[in-house]
Amino acid sequence: MELFLYTALFSPLVGSLFAALFGASPKTKIAGIVPSILLGVSFLSSFILLILVMVTGHTIHVEMMTWMATGDLYIPFGFVVDQVSVTMMIVVTLVSTVVHVYAIGYMEHDKGFNRFFSYLSAFVFSMMILVMSDNFAGLFIGWEGVGLCSWLLIGFWYHKESASWAANEAFIMNRIADLGMLIGIFMIYWNTGTLQYKEAFAVMPSLEHDVLTWMGIFLFIGAMGKSAQFPLHTWLADAMEGPTPVSALIHAATMVTAGVYLVVRAHPLYDLIPNVGLFIASLGAFVALFAASMALVNRDMKRVIAYSTLSQLGYMFAAAGLGAYWVALFHLMAHAFFKALLFLGAGNVMHAMHDELDPFKMGGLRKVMKGTFVMMTVASVALAGIFPLAGFFSKDLILEVAFVEQHYIIYTVLLFTAGLTAFYSFRLVALIFHGEDRYKLFGIHPHEAYKFMLVAMSPLLILAIIAGSLKLSYFEMITKLLPIIEYHVHHPAVYWTMIIGTQLFVITAIAYAYKKYTRKDIKVPDGTSKMENSFVYKLLINQYYIPYFYETYIIKAYRDLSEVFWIKVDQKIVDATVDGIANVFYQTGEKTRVMQSGNLSTMLKWMVAGTVVLLSLAVVFGLAARHSGEIKMFLSGLGV
């Protein structure tokens, strides 16, 4: 069994290194095909492991070798395949296999083709380490590894200023969160004496509540970065500068869900600190709404999907925070499938539109891009949570959780967000595929993507449709590890009212979106319409002015402060002090060297003066010695 584990883990690495061999040579198909095949192998191994875990209920744990060992610290390269990690492995390998194959077509004309596959496979490897590690340090390796690959891939088109800027932003924001994570890890080590999940979690119940709370908070800060939760969310939208397959794989399906994975993985900890859980859930609900609202008006196709991802991550955190770990994981899985599908579809559209991203400049594409149209529509339906697609099962479950746990505010927010989700998803679909062929105004001749790309996307399509039906068997498997909590509204009337009400609400939103955005008179907005000048619109299109705020008050301030530190402090104070001390000596020398006037008379005077000074000192001292008693009396009279 270990063989499958290692195969699953290391195939992507081999793929990456293989592609890296061609890094400097001109584009060659083989650099894309081999990693894709290897990922397929990895997927198959993961699948076998899944079956194994499902059937036998056993988990696999291996220690490959020691990584760090000093003092009491012992960190091995250890890997565990259990219900949670195998879920993630399946998601990761499946989506990445699809994306790899897709990318062979998508990146066909790119100069950095070989490099791209090297990075992409490296990402998968890091992600596998992240999910398979049996300890927090290993998790952190993967955590940083995916961060690195994300940096490389966002900035893949490094000649674009915006791309390299976005890459750095993503990396640095993640680093901020990673610090929290690191502190969390330190806390775990010094309080439990180990970083192995199993042993650490075993000790935790005996720890003080405060310690656990801080631990939970710091780990969650780590999760917030990777999963782009408020206020560290801005990087995700900017990360759309990367090639679309990257967005599909990293910024929709896998990496951004690592935060959710972490919370799920650390569930024994979060179970002990429900307060933090509630905070997580609240933040999740807030982000869900917050992101969805920004998606409403955005005019960048990829950014809309990115905000949607953000919003769905909010759902997942809401679920995880409320203790419904398996629900969060289930939504994570379902979301991975349909969101990746959506992104890849968007990639097709982009290719067709020559990298045009504004949906207002498209319209009517369904006629030329049938396959893509179908796929994106299905994905949007799934995202909106319409029965019987994947989203319905996973997302409604989260609503139920919130309801059952009696967090009605969260419930309301999430419900409202579901409506928004439906609206913006279909706003996009409507603008792209329906209505007038606005693209003609811009002289673009769109074409459908390669067949094999569509075929490659089909597994996702199927899963987006059927994933919901796997719920029960999945529940059965996952609850062997995660807490068994069945979320069911016990009163059937309430239950059905909720289900049907939600569905109606969502469908209404879809219908409204269709009505609004399939009209014939839609024009490319030019900033003159009344809506565009409304306060709300401005607020939303400017992302609540948060990026502006960051730019002005943090980035610029940091830059200015750095300048001040360098020029004012380092040079003018610290260094100037050092040179100043040296100068004092030198200047003293310059000033007093006149004493050496070279005139003999002066020299003699100096000698005599010296003697006279000494003499007077001697006399004073001598008198003082002779009259020491009287002096003492005099001084005591003065009160000294």
């Binding site: 060297r593 050496q596 006037s597 070279g598 005139n599 003999l600 008379s601 003699l604 005077k605 005599v608």
Partner: protein
């Protein structure tokens, strides 16, 4: 008034002070040498007086040596002075300040 040791010592000190002032004030090399002679000889007075006071000869011996040394100093000093005078045609102290700083 009987003249005691203290009077000699005071005289000697006054002479010494005069010598010092001379050393400081004189710009003429020759006069400067005179001033140093005054210095040394002021000490001789004291030595002689103290020697007499204690009734041993050490002080007088010292005085003799001081005289001898003063004499040889004059020899060397005048030698230097003459050379300087030959070269520069003056014996002014202020002309000797080529080296400074």
């Amino acid at each position: 008034m009987e003249i005691g040791l203290n009077h000699y010592l005071v005289l000697s000190t006054i002479l010494f002070a005069i010598g010092l002032v001379g050393v400081m004030r004189r710009k003429n090399l020759l006069m400067l040498f005179f001033a140093t002679e005054i210095l040394l000889n002021s000490v001789n007075i004291s030595f002689a007086a103290i020697s007499h006071y204690y009734g041993d000869l050490t002080g007088q011996m010292f005085a003799f040596f001081v005289i001898a040394i003063a004499a040889s100093e004059v020899a060397v000093g005048l030698g230097l002075l003459i050379v300087w005078h030959k070269k520069h045609n003056n014996i002014d102290l202020d002309s000797m300040s080529t080296m400074r700083g």
